[in-house]
Amino acid sequence: MSWFDYLSEQGVRGVARHTARRSFLSRLGACLVGAATIPALPVARAGGPREPAPDETGIAGNSGDPQTCNYWRYCSIDGFLCACCGGTQNSCPPGTEPSPITWIGTCRNPADGKDYIISYNDCCGKSGCGRCFCNSNEGDSPLHRPALDNDINWCLGTKSNAYHCSMGVVIGVATEPLR
């Protein structure tokens, strides 16, 4: 079973229903193989407009510090923040490799009040960074709904499966409530 089948089962309903699933996926897959510069999969929407996190009041209007757990993008993260490990909110620390597949969430950016789809790519190939552990869990779902599960070690399809840290990468704006 390829992971495109997995995605078609689990993750991309919100997008795929607007198109022919097979052709969409095969097209997307072909483009992804050919172009390394586009965002990582999956691109499913996490669950429509999100509910504010309990600790978000302090960062209203401010995008916050990517080295702290209450940075807006980390609303559904679970792991060591790469921004504390030599990387940033969207780049892996030197010598580690971003996971090509991942779990996703929807977080509100207090700077513009919009909800964004966030891809929580793990960085892989070294032991745990051990710094800035953050576990916020918005939209986190059980293991049988893997595209929304932040408990999985997403270091899959990488040279090494070793988990080092986690990022929050903007892959789009959440425009409509979808599940």
């Binding site: 079973m1 509910e51 032991s127 986190d140 070690n153």
Partner: protein, 378 residues
């Protein structure tokens, strides 16, 4: 004079120069006593160096650590056969610790000596995640072990435990986790709300059956935290409904769901939370759950109380306030029930008398990140 006696004479002469009030000692290796129903294993994820996973064996009566297993990368928990003669531990190793070639094994240990005695190589596909109970299972007749794979393709590896060999991989698209279901079957939870049953014949050949939809993943999804109860398993929805599933006959039978929380509880935001938040004592038919007050998506927050339910009446019988908040809980299966708790972010295990709620022991500095309890089933 033979060589042995010659040596004894020589050594006696040697040590006579240092003859002591305390006898000269020989370092040895301790043996385990006869296994007790109050023994408990706890898994250590060692999250900051997950290649160094461990399992600790503790005695709930004495509060002592009894021994340890070294269990590799992103360890979840191990299995054992029905008479506790063999431990089967799904383990992952990379040839250079965090890089190089990956090898997945079922390590085989002797539970009496805690020595590794064998290993079974399996496909390098085992799920690595924050540990869940359903990552692997052993059939009730001890014949087959099934390990859940996620690459992210979903499948299971089937192992013949008797002959200690990998048999085959079975693709299980859309379905995750494994639970023993009768002598020769396993159930999995599928993302569409159904259950998948895999039945094995003597050769390990498989047939599969899909159940009716027993939960709606868009409305109130079944969580991946669950508790065994004889040949049944208690599952829980994110809102706190209990879904008991009888698996003894190989095909899942779904009981009527019921709620742990009254309207009043829900109004006060009481919730399940943690990594192993529910456990059942078979002899007393009591369900123990870790609860806290919190908003949506606090489902991994540690519980501050344990609420105890009578499974026959589905009524909450008592509340046990915890000496420290916990993300995992397990009770022994006997009537002198002990309750073990731990917090994944803090070292140490707490032991309570489950019937009185009395805090008996803190087993301190045990495990960097205690995640899953797994019992010595006797």
């Amino acid at each position: 004079m033979n060589n042995r006696i010659s040596c004894l004479v020589f050594l006696t002469l040697f040590y006579s120069a240092v003859a002591a009030e305390l006898a000269v000692e020989t370092p040895t290796t301790a043996s385990l006593a006869e296994a007790s129903p109050h023994w408990m294993w706890v898994s250590d994820l060692v999250f900051n160096a997950a290649e160094g996973g461990k399992a600790f064996l503790i005695d709930g009566d004495s509060g002592q650590m009894l021994g340890m297993l070294s269990t590799g990368f992103f360890f979840a928990s191990a299995l054992h056969d029905s008479d506790y003669q063999t431990i089967y531990s799904p383990e992952v190793y990379l040839s250079r610790g965090t890089r190089g070639e990956r090898t997945d094994i079922i390590a085989v240990y002797n539970p009496k000596t805690l020595e590794p005695i064998d290993e079974i190589i399996i496909p390098p596909k085992r799920l690595t995640s924050v540990p869940v109970v359903g990552h692997a299972a052993i059939s009730e007749d001890d014949r087959f072990i099934v390990v859940y794979n996620f690459t992210p393709a979903q499948s299971v590896s089937v192992i013949d435990a008797k002959n200690r060999m990998f048999i085959r991989e079975v693709e299980t698209p859309g379905c995750a986790e494994v639970f023993a279901a009768g002598p020769r079957a396993f159930n999995m939870i599928c993302g569409d709300g159904t259950m998948l049953t895999l039945r094995f014949d003597d050769a390990g050949d498989v047939t599969s059956v899909r159940s009716k939809k027993f939960f709606d993943p868009q409305v109130d999804i079944i969580d991946d935290k669950m508790a065994p109860y004889g040949t049944s398993w208690a599952f829980f929805t994110m809102s706190g409904m209990v879904q008991m599933v009888s698996m003894g006959d190989g095909i899942p039978v779904f009981a009527e769901p019921w709620s742990l929380f009254s309207a009043h509880d829900l109004a006060h935001e009481w919730k399940l939370g943690g990594y192993q938040y529910a456990t059942i004592c078979e002899s007393t038919a009591e369900l123990y759950v870790l609860v806290h007050q919190g908003g949506k998506y606090t489902h991994k927050q540690p519980g501050v109380d344990v609420w105890v339910y009578d499974l026959k009446t589905k009524v909450r019988k008592r509340k046990i306030p915890l000496s420290r908040a916990a993300t995992s809980i397990y009770v022994t299966q006997d009537e002198q029930t002990l309750m073990f708790t731990a917090d994944a972010e803090h070292s140490g295990v707490q032991v309570y008398d489950a019937s009185t709620g009395k805090h008996l022991h803190d087993v301190e500095d045990l495990a960097a990140n205690p995640m899953l309890f797994w019992p010595v089933r006797l």
